[in-house]
């Protein structure tokens, strides 16, 4: 993303400026890389490659790992729970990425383009803050709150169903305890958490747009919805790309909500890759197997990021050609 901008910047600079900054002891800047790169290499790169090594071994965490080649990966491919965990991760892509992006664009343009001009910026900022609140609070704590809200006996939701709407107690759902329902309950909670992020990013994107565009459209007699479709949606391209990338990555990484709310259950009905990997590290102590899951997940995430960045760069290039 920025790689392109960096090289462009250098090219756009007049030759003189380029030369002078080259001549003036460029070498001294390399020293500034040392602390950050050293720490990064030791802690992140080192751990990452050690994890890959572990994934080719049989190890219970004690003693030394024993090399078994690709055995862990072979077992993974026939492990139904592994595939199931990825199915759930893809459900979370819908709940954390696609739906919040759609809703976010809509709510953000409502707030920025409709509420703010009529009811003031304060009203729009207040609403934005309200939607953003679930983002600020640790997921573990929102998880505790939801477990409590969704408790089948003492929970707020089922109490409301029984006493507010008159649904008989016997048929009120066990939101997080029913195999067929738990993943859907989690998905709805994830939508609730994520939407604030997309609203904030898109509202900031809208403030970047040229207001004369929408004003011109308004003079032409376009309705708010037409303006939304034609101008806002078309102009928010870069933000939509960033939001899709970051939220998809986050969806595939989900761990804390599952840990707190369902522990992957009931059964394996809410199992996700990150939790599955953790489970093998620290519960079954099949460390090599857990490491293999984590390695596959990393690979998928990296490929996904590269694909999205490429699509975005291509679109950017197209726009520039126009």
């Amino acid at each position: 993303m920025s790689a392109a901008t960096v090289s462009k910047d250098v090219k756009n600079k007049p030759l003189k400026a380029r030369k002078s900054s080259l001549e003036k002891g460029k070498g001294q800047y390399y020293a500034y890389l040392i602390p950050g790169l050293l720490a990064f290499t030791v802690v992140i790169v080192g751990s990452f490659f050690f994890n890959i090594y572990i994934s080719f071994t049989k190890w219970n965490g004690l003693g030394s790992p024993r090399w078994i080649g690709t055995k862990n990966y072979e077992n993974l491919f026939v492990d139904a729970v592994f595939w199931e965990s990825f199915l759930h991760a893809f459900m979370f892509i819908a709940a954390m990425s696609i739906i919040p992006t759609f809703l976010g664009v809509f709510v953000a343009s409502m707030l920025f383009d409709y509420i703010a001009p009529r009811f003031g910026n304060g009203a729009a900022a207040f609403m934005r803050a309200g939607f953003y609140m679930p983002q600020v609070i640790p997921m573990t704590i929102t998880g505790v709150i939801w477990v409590w809200l969704l408790n089948p006996v003492s929970g707020v939701i089922n109490n409301f169903l029984t006493y507010g709407l008159g649904v008989p107690k016997e048929v009120t759902p066990n939101w997080l305890g029913d195999e067929n329902l738990a993943i859907w309950s989690l998905s709805v909670i994830m939508i609730w958490i994520q939407i604030g992020y997309t609203i904030v990013i898109f509202m900031s994107g809208l403030s970047r747009l040229d207001p004369s565009l929408t004003e011109a459209a308004q003079l032409d007699g376009a309705t708010w919805f037409q303006r939304f479709r034609i101008i806002i949606l078309a102009q928010l391209g870069p933000e939509i790309g960033v939001v899709l990338l970051t939220t998809m990555v986050a969806a595939l990484k989900v761990f804390a909500p599952v840990y707190v709310m369902t522990s992957g259950g009931p059964g394996t009905s809410t199992q996700v890759p990150a939790y599955f990997s953790y489970f093998h590290f620290f519960t079954t102590h099949k460390v090599g197997y857990g490491a293999a899951v984590a390695t596959v997940l990393s690979l998928i995430l990296t490929v996904l990021a590269i694909v999205i960045l490429n699509i975005q760069n291509k679109q950017q290039a197209k726009e520039n050609q126009r």
Binding site: M1, S2, T5, V6, A17, S20, G25, K26, Q28, Y29, Y30, L33, P35, G36, L37, A39, V43, I44, S47, F50, N51, I54, V107, I115, R118, G130, F131, V136, I137, P138, T140, I141, V144, W148, L149, G155, V156, N159, F160, Y163, G164, Y197, I201, M203, S204, G205, S207, P211, E239, V242, F255, A256, A274, S277, Y278, F282, L297, S298, A305, L309
Partner: protein
């Protein structure tokens, strides 16, 4: 990717020149307001029930506002969970971790954005990939290393890991800001004979201070919310952070619904407070680098 847009204050529409409000616009406004209230409803329920006595809860159910509000549960959880200690653990580790992240990120970004060193594209590319790596792919080696280095169950271990895991992200943001740094200012400093160190301290840092503050606030809040790393590395009760402690103790400690609500409320309170205090910084940080 530029942050120029994030740096600018959002365009303000003059409040004196509000557009006329029709019936439809009032309906829309009411609809949005109800949606926001719905969004905050879980927190409202946590508050209402944290203040209830168990009898009150049984008689009135969870939806009603308490007949006799009491701080009893909150105080009890505060004491039983040793909340002040957990608060302190979270605060200093998150803050020190954020400081390390920003210092390391700034130095690296300085070499990239101002020094324009060779290979900078590669470094940023590797950092982008690092951003996608899940913590699960690092946690077992880190756990193993912490045990070997006698840092297991030691808060310093999470400070180091917080500090370093954020470097890729902070380098990325800071270098995108530094790419936009006015060239004339740098040239002028060079003509005055400033070397890289003097230029960083006297020219770049003063101008960049607000950006660095924004990033510090954001990383602090990320660290505060961190779960997996403290979960794995800090087993003992006295070393737990707020986000870890509430999640773990609440299940073991009580099944009383009102007491659970009190625990959740207490756990959420510091974050709500940070949000109120740092809202502007946080919003700027989150949107930084989201547009080209």
């Amino acid at each position: 990717m530029s942050t120029a847009t994030a740096e600018k204050a959002p365009k303000k529409i003059k409040t004196s020149a509000l557009k006329p409000r029709s019936f439809v616009s009032w309906v829309t406004f009411a609809f949005m307001l109800v949606a926001v209230i719905g969004w905050l409803f879980p927190f409202w329920m946590a508050l209402a029930n944290a203040l209830k006595t168990p009898d009150d809860f049984i008689q009135q159910g969870p939806l009603a506002w308490p007949a006799h509000p009491t701080f009893e549960h909150i105080v009890k959880f505060w004491n039983d969970s040793n909340f002040p200690l957990k608060f302190w653990n979270s605060t200093w580790t998150s803050l020190l971790g954020a400081a390390i992240t920003v210092v390391l990120g700034f130095l690296t970004a300085y070499a990239i954005g101002i020094g324009k060193i060779k290979g900078r594209t590669w470094i940023l590319g590797v950092f982008m990939v690092a951003f996608t790596i899940p913590q699960e792919a690092l946690i077992y080696p880190l756990y193993n290393a912490a045990k070997k280095l006698d840092l297991y169950d030691n808060l310093l271990s999470i400070v180091i890991i917080f500090g370093v895991t954020g470097v890729a992200f902070s380098t990325y943001l800071i270098s995108s800001v530094l790419n936009e740094f006015p060239g004339e200012v740098l040239e002028a400093a060079k003509i005055d004979g400033a070397n890289a160190w003097r230029m960083m301290v006297d020219v770049v840092l003063p101008i960049l201070r607000p950006t660095l503050m924004v990033i510090t606030v954001m990383v602090f809040i990320y660290n505060w919310n961190e779960f997996l790393i403290p979960l794995v590395l800090l087993p003992s009760n006295d070393n737990q952070t707020v986000s870890l402690g509430i999640a773990l103790t609440v299940g073991q400690w009580t099944t009383e619904p009102t007491a659970r609500a009190a625990a959740a409320l207490l756990g959420a309170l510091p974050s709500i407070l940070f949000f109120v205090i740092f809202q502007r910084s946080l919003m700027r940080g989150v949107t930084m680098g989201s547009s080209k």
